[in-house]
Amino acid sequence: MSKKPGWKELASGDLLEAGTAKEFETGDWRTLRPIKDDEKCINCLNCWIWCPDSAIIVKDEKMIGIDYRYCKGCGICARVCPPKVQAIKMVDEREFREK
């Protein structure tokens, strides 16, 4: 939202459109960044079901990436990735910020 609306422009009664949180990016909360190894991933979708921030992108039953706009770097995805697979690694976010 660039310019905040005045009271005459706002919809009345504390009403707001559904799903607008998508416009609010929480990615900058991250101190650790999950990095997925495509080679290792077996598409079990564990990471997807457990991500608290709906940041695992799945298409046609395949885990195709991480939405860094929302990912807060909690590390759950890396933990729930089966121990034998370990396709997700948590990496210090600063490595990416500096670049």
Binding site: K4, P5, G6, W7, L10, S12, G13, D14, L15, L16, E17, A18, G19
Partner: protein, 392 residues
């Protein structure tokens, strides 16, 4: 029009039957219990197609009405005193979310001490909750007001909840002659309930009641205030139309022999009826007595009050509530403030009376005029806040 004998509660329940709301969620409390009971019987007898929810408390009654109204239903409840107090939190929410819930409210003293009889402490306690407040003098007005409230509250420029009060037992249980409007005419008068948005409109989902912080809360509150500013005009228009269609016209205030009055009292509710008798008597004795009855307490008709009292020589504001504010009762303070901007500022006194159902006699009202006479003569107010009918 059909002429029948009805108590205040029966008359308001009758209005609710004719309104045939989508949802009624209510909880019993003396002296408003009958409204809930009578309405439940209407439901049981198939006289309405309302979904009735016998909730487990008034807090839930208002919460359920709020949920129902947000879902696009015309929702009503009824209560009194402790029930209204228990709703307190939800009253503000109904108004803030702009849900036009209509609620008959029978005036009863608030605890403590516990008491079941009339005063206005319950309603006055909710005076700043964002609800429209309509006071009724008798059963006929209560009936008419409930019907008008639906139109007023649901008006697109308003969309605020409203409560319609009658005085506990005095009116709620007093049998009076009431002219009932035909069902079909009520239906056509109130029209269909239309909401812009509804929670059940799953194709257009939205979120209602979000956390609203420093950067938006004020704007939403400003909208709510604007709605209240818009309300007097709507109330007048609805009262006018009601008058044209059914022969009883309504305004924000009612003046009784006030045009040429020198001594005026300001009252709310059933005391207006008693006061008319006193005024007629005083007029016969050549005393220019008059009365201003406040029908709409919220929005407060400050301009109308200032204009109507501009040429009197002394005013007494009679309040059936104390307010325990350390100075003056609620109506007194607001009337007094309204006069500040008037062309003249007549001397004004406050009378607190009738707490906990204490009766007020003709003599007591007469004594108020006697005091006003003195004040008018000397221009001197000896005591601003007075108590009437309490043992010293």
């Amino acid at each position: 029009m059909k002429r029948v004998a009805r108590t205040g509660n029966e008359a308001m329940a009758e209005a609710m039957r004719q309104i045939n709301p989508d949802v009624v969620a209510a909880y019993p409390i003396t002296p408003a219990t009958e409204i809930v009971q009578i309405f439940s019987q209407f439901v049981a007898d198939g006289l309405v197609d309302t979904e009735f929810v016998a909730v487990e408390s008034e807090h839930s009654a208002m919460s359920a009405c709020i949920g129902a109204a947000a879902a696009g239903a015309r929702a009503m409840t009824g209560t009194s005193s402790q029930g209204l107090a228990l709703m307190y939190e939800m009253l503000y929410i109904a108004a803030g979310l702009r849900l036009p819930i209509v609620m008959p409210e029978v005036n009863r003293a608030l605890s403590s001490p516990i008491n079941i009889h009339c005063d206005h402490s319950d309603t006055m306690g909710a005076r700043d909750s964002g609800w429209i407040q309509i006071f009724s003098e008798n059963s006929q007005e209560a009936y008419d007001n409930v019907i008008q409230a639906v139109r007023i509250c649901e008006h697109p420029q308003v969309r605020l909840p409203g409560l319609i009060t009658v005085d506990g037992f005095i009116i709620s249980h007093g049998l009076e002659v009431v002219d009932l409007i035909h069902d079909e005419e009520v239906k056509s008068f109130i029209g269909e309930y239309k909401t812009e948005r509804s929670l059940l409109d799953i194709k257009h989902p939205y979120s209602l009641g979000a956390l609203d912080l420093q950067d938006f809360y004020f704007e939403h509150k400003r909208q709510e205030a604007e709605a209240m500013y818009n309300t007097p005009e709507v109330i007048r228009a609805v009262g006018e139309e009601f008058g044209k269609r059914f022969g009883r016209k309504y305004d924000l205030i009612e003046k009784y022999k006030l045009e040429d009055a020198e001594l005026a009292i300001v009252v709310l509710g059933s005391t207006a009826g008693t006061s008319r008798v006193v005024i007629d008597d005083l007029r016969e004795k050549g005393i220019k007595a008059g009365m201003l009855k406040i029908r709409i307490f919220r929005p407060f008709p400050h301009k109308e009050i200032a204009e109507s009292l501009s040429s009197v020589k002394a005013v007494a504001v009679m309040d059936r509530v104390d307010g325990v504010a350390g100075f003056g009762s609620p109506t007194f303070n607001e009337v007094r403030a309204a006069l500040y901007d008037g062309p003249t500022r007549p001397p004004i006194v406050n009378y607190i009376y009738g707490l906990g159902g204490r009766e007020i006699s003709l003599e007591e009202i007469t004594s108020v005029y006697k005091n006003l006479e003195k004040i008018a003569k000397t221009g001197e107010v000896k005591k601003i806040v007075n108590y009437l009918g309490v043992r010293e």
